[in-house]
Symmetry: C2
Subunit: 132 residues, 2 copies
DNA sequence: CAGCATCCTCGGAGATACTG
DNA sequence: CAGTATCTCCGAGGATGCTG
């Protein structure tokens, strides 16, 4: 029988992995998670499946290359699924997995934090730049 | 008299700023927040003031240049304060501001998420890489 | 100890053009 | 429409050496 609960396995993971350590694989995962486009894509996809072109329009300024590249990385890491509908023209839908959706609160928190505290940061910058 | 509450001002900010827009200044702030070293520095500083060398040791693998550079940006954005104690040798302490501390829950959430779900991501990668 | 200046390199990321 | 391939370039970021 299984003698470990999900909670215990999570505890185990937190003991084994430490992003403060240089060699830890979480360091590299952290690099993926702390990506501007990931922080925008997760909230953008939270409402449901989106097509490539829809995402490109929603997330203004992202190049086609970066969008495809970021989506591919996220798919590989199990954050979203890519569904191809063969037709002319082709149609591809991206949808968050439960794992990806689990990341939603965190990502939306960063995005919202930036939008909410932008003014305060501007104040701080002005003060910093005009210090004697 | 002031007719707007802090809550209303926050609402105002959320209406004015939208990180989905390319020209929005929050896009650039988001770039700063979604930085690997920021995600590690905030949790590292949460316990109290830390010296430059202490941080360098705690956050393994960070170069001296990147550490100074990241700390400077965070100082400019009002996330932390830099206190110099003139002595020989010099001593510099970094401490989170209330604004920076406000970011702590978010940053620690990302770091913890990575540490907690590393195994699941590994599984997803293996499955992705061995797909036919 | 903290941090600036300099040099150098590697790859992140845009632009463009082409395919299914 | 979605994606790949190629070329190019700029700058992030490491290494080293010097200063207060």
């Amino acid at each position: 029988m299984a003698t470990t609960t999900a909670g215990q396995r999570r505890e185990q993971a937190k003991r084994d992995y430490d992003a403060f350590l240089a060699g830890c694989p979480t360091r590299e995962l952290l690099s993926t998670l702390t990506d501007k486009w990931v922080a925008l894509l997760i909230p953008a996809l939270a409402g449901g499946p989106q097509r490539h072109s829809e995402l490109a329009r929603r997330i203004a300024g992202v190049s086609q290359k970066m969008l495809t590249q970021t989506l591919r990385t996220m798919e590989r890491d199990g954050l979203l699924t890519r569904t191809v509908t063969t037709s002319v023209p082709a149609r591809v839908d991206y949808q968050l997995t439960p794992l990806g959706h689990d990341l939603f609160p965190v990502m939306v928190a960063i995005k919202t934090w930036a939008e909410t505290h932008m003014d305060r940061v501007f104040q701080a910058r002005t003060q910093f730049d005009t210090r004697t």
